[in-house]
Structure formats: structure tokens, C-alpha cells
């Protein structure tokens, strides 16, 4: 294992929200002190419920948002404070696959034009080279025969094909990192696996690193090597996929794993334990441990007194919880 390709340290992204008559500034802390590492060719998953800040985390890593604090180091180079115009090379090294493929594709452009755009912007001058690369990209995502697709508009493609086009666009510059933000949640069950397998193939064949952002733990088991669980803007547990799924430690992770059903007729006969309440508002999250108002293992005077540290309980298995102190 070499040096990490991407190193994120204590990353913060606050959005300013003005509130009240006095115009007192209030911040929505969407990402609040997140650290992670990504090795070349590795696939990691960031799992959390809606509103926990996982999309913001992905976009901040891509520097589509300006970080409020912390550091992002890519390939040994600190890119946290680089200015917009100095970031062009970083844009070529990273790609984004959005959740809603139809919304992410310009409806008035043909497939060819959509894929040509990033090449033109990044100075591929020869028309022949551009065409060759478009062909290669479409073949990679299996939109073949290429001739059948190249002159179509997005609305002429099925949902799965649209998502493959989005992936082709995200990877046409052969980036080292692809952030896939809920890439299959808008697709049908039978196509989901097809798209995830395609991403996995890109990862394994072309040594691309993938940050897979999702709310669905059951797919991460098959498509990622390491899982980060996010709750209320913070990473509360991380471990290798098998370790996390077989030996979850944080009460929130345990609760999540407990309620996700496998297709089993026995499910209908039991009531499952669900922590009461809902995820907190990120403008005023609970003090200290953010899960403490909902936690079944809540310890008075501890969990609501100080913020828990992140503890390495077993090798490479980190938990942010007082239970393991």
C-alpha cells in the first residue's frame, strides 16, 4: 500500500444562513470535522441518511465548494486553498456522477456533444482525437454499438443508459477519483446492479478510486472496501466493509444494520427496534455526542457532557463514541 491518493483532514464546510431581525449570522454546519483517506484504486463508501451532509462532503472534496476549514491533500499536493483558476488540473483528476441522470444531462445536447465538451474545455484540439476518446468512453460504459447512441439526445435513452452516459462524461478525462453521489437511487432494482458493476469494473480495470455516497448499506457490502458512517455532519464510525458489517460498534450503525431488511418472510412477524426521534437540524445540533438524544446506550453526564473522541478500537476500526473509551 502506497501513500494515499487523497487525504482529508478535519474538513469543515459551513453555510452561512442569516436569521432573525438582528441579522445575527447562523451557520449550517453541513460537514463538521471529517477525516478520511483514499488509496489509489480503492472504493470507499460514505453512508448516511438524507441531510447528514454526505453530498456536501463529496462536493467539498471535489472543491466544488470552498472548504471552511481543514485540509484536502491530493497526490501530495494541498489543494484546500487553491484558487478557482488554479484548479483546472484537479478537475481533470476528478469526476462526479450525480444522483438524477436526467437532471444532470443537458437536454438539448447530443451524446456526442455532451462528451465533447470536457475535451474541448481541456484543450484536446484535434477533432480526430476527440472522436476517438468519445468512442472509447462510450465503449467503456457499454453504450454500444456506439453509432446507435452518439447522435441521440438524453431523453431518448432509458434511465440506466442515461446514468451510463453520466459515467462516461465523468470518466472521459480518465480521472483518478470518481465521486458517485447516490448513482443508483433513482433507478430500478434490476438496473441498479448493472450500474454498480460498471463502476466496479472501472475501478478494477482502470485503477480508478471511487467515493460511493449512498444511504443504502446493503449495496456497499458488494461495491466498496471501506465504509464511513456519517451522522449529523460527522463521521461516527469507519472500518473495512466486512468488519463494519459483522462487528458494528456505534449504536447508530447498529440501529441502521438492524432495520435494513433482507428479503425474508419472517420480517413480517416481528417489530424492529428503531431509535426514537429524527436526525438533528444541522444549524443547532445537540451538544457533545450528536446521537445522544436518540441513543439506546445513553450515559447521563458523559454523552451529553463532552464530545466523544474518535477511538481506534481494533485495527483500522474507528468509532466516535464514549462507550469505547
Amino acid at each position: 500500500m502506497g501513500a494515499p491518493l487523497l487525504l482529508v483532514e478535519n474538513l469543515k464546510k459551513y453555510f452561512e444562513v442569516r436569521r432573525g431581525f438582528l441579522g445575527k449570522k447562523v451557520y449550517l454546519k453541513a460537514v463538521d470535522g471529517v477525516s478520511l483517506t483514499l488509496v489509489r484504486g480503492e472504493a470507499i463508501a460514505i453512508v448516511g441518511e438524507s441531510g447528514c451532509g454526505k453530498t456536501t462532503l463529496g462536493k467539498t472534496i471535489l472543491r466544488l465548494y470552498e472548504p471552511t476549514g481543514g485540509r484536502i491533500i491530493f497526490d501530495g499536493r494541498d489543494i484546500t486553498r487553491l484558487r478557482w483558476k488554479d484548479l483546472k488540473w484537479y478537475r481533470c483528476e476528478t469526476g462526479l456522477v450525480q444522483q438524477d441522470p436526467f437532471g444532470a444531462l443537458p437536454p438539448f445536447m447530443t451524446v456526442k456533444r455532451i462528451l465533447e465538451e470536457p475535451l474541448i474545455i481541456n484543450g484536446v484540439k484535434s477533432k480526430r482525437e476527440r472522436e476517438e476518446r468519445i468512442y472509447r468512453a462510450l465503449e467503456r460504459v457499454k453504450l454500444t454499438p456506439v453509432e446507435d447512441f452518439i447522435n441521440k439526445y438524453p431523453h431518448m435513452l432509458s434511465g440506466g443508459q442515461q446514468q451510463r452516459l453520466v459515467i462516461a462524461r465523468a470518466t472521459i478525462l480518465e480521472p483518478k477519483i470518481v465521486v458517485a453521489d447516490e448513482p443508483v437511487s433513482m433507478l430500478d432494482a434490476s438496473v441498479r446492479i448493472e450500474i454498480l458493476k460498471l463502476l466496479q469494473e472501472l475501478q478494477q480495470k482502470y485503477n480508478q478510486s471511487i467515493i460511493y455516497i449512498t444511504h443504502d448499506l446493503s449495496t456497499t457490502k458488494y461495491f466498496s472496501e471501506r465504509i464511513y458512517i456519517m451522522y449529523a455532519a460527522q463521521i461516527i464510525e469507519s472500518a473495512s466493509t466486512s468488519e463494519l458489517l459483522w462487528n458494528p460498534m456505534h449504536p447508530y450503525t447498529k440501529a441502521l444494520l438492524n432495520v435494513i431488511p433482507d428479503p425474508d418472510p419472517g420480517n413480517r412477524l416481528i417489530i424492529k427496534d428503531v431509535p426514537a426521534g429524527e436526525p438533528p437540524n444541522l444549524m443547532s445540533p445537540p451538544s457533545s455526542c450528536r446521537f445522544h438524544p436518540r441513543c439506546p446506550n445513553f450515559m447521563k453526564g458523559v454523552c451529553d457532557a463532552r464530545e466523544p473522541p474518535t477511538i481506534e478500537v481494533t485495527k483500522e476500526h474507528y468509532v466516535k463514541c464514549w462507550l469505547y473509551d
Binding site: E49, S190, H215, N267, R268
Partner: protein
């Protein structure tokens, strides 16, 4: 023999569009006993919601063909005229919670006022009595009754969805149709709503049709499963058998594509996409994507009963 609560036979509903006739529900049959839950599963656009609308007769104006029988407690609902159906069946006997119902709450009317509307209009209840009933219904779905005086915009998605369920149950229906009740909600919220639905089901002997595209989730409620593909039910089976041993090649493929947490398996997917309902293939509609297709499949497969009530629509099970 147990009482058959709902029995749908050869139900058919087509839409007329500029491009031709859309065969959204095509010759669909199934039956449900009192207190049973049927999960209706299938991919988007396969006609799940259309089937629900055909049962509760909330159809758009461009319906061109609407035929078949829908028996509720042995009475054929298709014989009732619109006025009778509205007065005697819709909401009072059969309730329907449409997809994304949580967004249909009026944001500027208090929760309680919205909930009691049917009680006042249909049952001529006094407002005080109706509000008391609404408070009780809220408690059933684990929402504090003080929320009667709140506005929907003050509530989270999960709470709104629970309120739509509570509202549908206020009129004491015998059958409730839930169309994707949790599809936009978070995992824990979803689990919470499943718990509530389970306890309601056990408490009241309520029959349910639970429409979902999520097979794992369907197992949280289903006693029976109907798998829909391109406007038709291709398999109708009981939960004990379906999840471990689905019969129709489409169900089998669909099951292969479900990732599981607790067991290891090889995931598969179904190449291609479902046929257009404008002009579905003459024979088996799944044949084009089916790994077992043979020459017989160019003819429409018959419904083959595996057991007295459970069937599969596939030539593979035909006895020569």
C-alpha cells in the same frame, strides 16, 4: 374455508394517448383474504399504480378500456355506478394512500382540520368528536396529539407520511392501498412506519395492498406477493415460498438483483429494458429478456396454478 375479501378477475384498463393505446393493466387477477397483505412489486412503469387506481376507480379521463370484475365481500364493484361507488366504497370501505401523499397535505391548514374533513363531510360528525377521533388516530401512529394544532410545514417527512396513513384509517376502511408509502424516506423512518403498519394490521384485521419496487422491504408486510411486469401479473405467490423460491424467470432475476446484508450471494441484473406498454409483444412480454425463452414463448403464456390459489404466467410450467 376462509372468507375471500377482495377478488379481482381479469381487470383491464387501457389509456388512450396520442401515440395509441397504453395497456397499463392487462387482464389481471388475484385474491386476498380478510386481514391479509399483498405486496405488489415491479419496476417503475409496469402498471402498479394504475392497478391501484383501477381498483379504487380514481382514473384519469383518457381511460379507453375498463373492464373485469372486482369483488369486495362478494359484491361486484364494477356493477355500481360512480355515485354509489363514491358513497359506499371509496374511502369508507377502501382507502388509498397515493405515492408521495405526504406532499399533498395543505401546508396552510392545520393537521387536525385536514384529517377530520371526511368525518364531517361523510359521517356528519360534530367537530369536537371528529377532533377527538383524529387525536386517537395520531397516537396510533406514534405522533403526539398536540400536533393536531400544527401546520404540515412544521413536520418532517416521516411525520407527514404517518399523518396521511392515520387519515386514511380514520374512516375505518376494510382495505387500504398504500402506494410506495416510504419510498422517499430514510432508512430509520421507513422502519418506523413499517412497525406502525404491522401493528395496525395485527390490531384491526385490515387487508392491505402494499405497492413497492423494493423487494426486501416488501417482506416486512407481505403475506402474498404479486409480481407485475409490463401490465400483467406474472407471478402470484405466498411469502414463505416466494422469497426463497420464486417461480417466474422474471421474479428469479429480480431476486438475484437484490443485495443482501446477512447472506453472501452473487448479484445479477436483467439486461435490456421492459417493453413499451403502447405495443407490447404478442407472446410472453418477458421473453426478450428471458434466459429460458423457447419457441413457445411467442404465444401468450397461460396462467398456470401451482397450488390452488398461486399461479405463474409462464410456459415453463405448462404440462404437455
Amino acid at each position: 374455508m376462509e372468507e375471500e375479501h377482495l377478488s379481482v378477475k381479469n381487470l383491464t384498463m387501457y389509456y388512450r394517448t396520442m401515440k395509441g393505446e397504453v395497456k397499463a393493466v392487462d387482464d389481471v387477477s388475484f385474491s386476498l383474504l380478510k386481514g391479509e397483505t399483498m405486496a405488489l412489486i415491479g419496476e417503475s412503469g409496469c402498471g402498479k399504480s394504475s392497478l391501484a387506481k383501477a381498483i379504487i376507480r380514481l382514473m384519469p379521463r383518457n381511460v379507453s378500456v375498463y373492464k373485469g370484475t372486482v369483488l369486495l365481500n362478494g359484491v361486484n364493484l364494477m356493477d355500481l355506478d360512480e355515485e354509489e361507488f363514491r358513497r359506499k366504497i371509496r374511502w369508507s370501505k377502501i382507502a388509498y394512500v397515493p405515492q408521495a401523499a405526504l406532499n399533498s397535505l395543505n401546508p396552510i391548514v392545520k393537521v387536525g382540520e385536514q384529517m377530520i374533513e371526511p368525518l364531517i363531510l361523510v359521517y356528519r360528525m360534530s367537530k369536537r368528536e371528529a377532533l377527538e377521533k383524529a387525536a386517537g388516530a395520531l397516537r396510533k401512529v406514534s405522533i403526539s396529539e398536540s400536533f393536531i394544532d400544527h401546520y404540515p410545514f412544521e413536520l418532517s417527512g416521516g411525520m407527514k407520511q404517518r399523518i396521511t396513513i392515520a387519515t386514511a384509517l380514520l374512516v375505518n376502511p376494510e382495505l387500504i392501498i398504500l402506494d410506495e408509502p416510504t419510498s422517499s424516506l430514510d432508512v430509520l423512518t421507513q422502519a418506523n412506519i413499517m412497525n406502525i403498519l404491522k401493528s395496525i394490521k395485527w390490531e384491526r384485521d385490515l387487508s392491505m395492498i402494499f405497492i413497492t419496487h423494493d423487494i426486501s422491504l416488501s417482506s416486512e408486510l407481505a403475506d402474498k406477493i404479486a409480481v407485475m411486469y409490463a401490465g400483467q401479473i406474472v407471478e402470484f405467490n405466498v411469502a414463505e415460498k416466494f422469497y426463497s423460491d420464486p417461480k417466474h424467470p422474471y421474479s428469479q432475476r429480480l431476486m438475484e438483483s437484490v443485495p443482501t446484508l446477512r447472506t453472501d450471494k452473487k448479484l445479477g441484473f436483467i439486461p435490456g429494458s421492459p417493453p413499451s406498454l403502447l405495443n407490447p409483444p404478442k407472446g410472453c412480454r418477458f421473453a426478450e429478456r428471458c434466459p429460458f425463452a423457447f419457441n413457445k414463448c411467442s404465444e401468450d403464456p397461460p396462467i398456470i396454478y401451482l397450488d390452488e390459489d398461486f399461479y405463474v404466467k409462464c410456459w415453463l410450467y405448462a404440462k404437455e
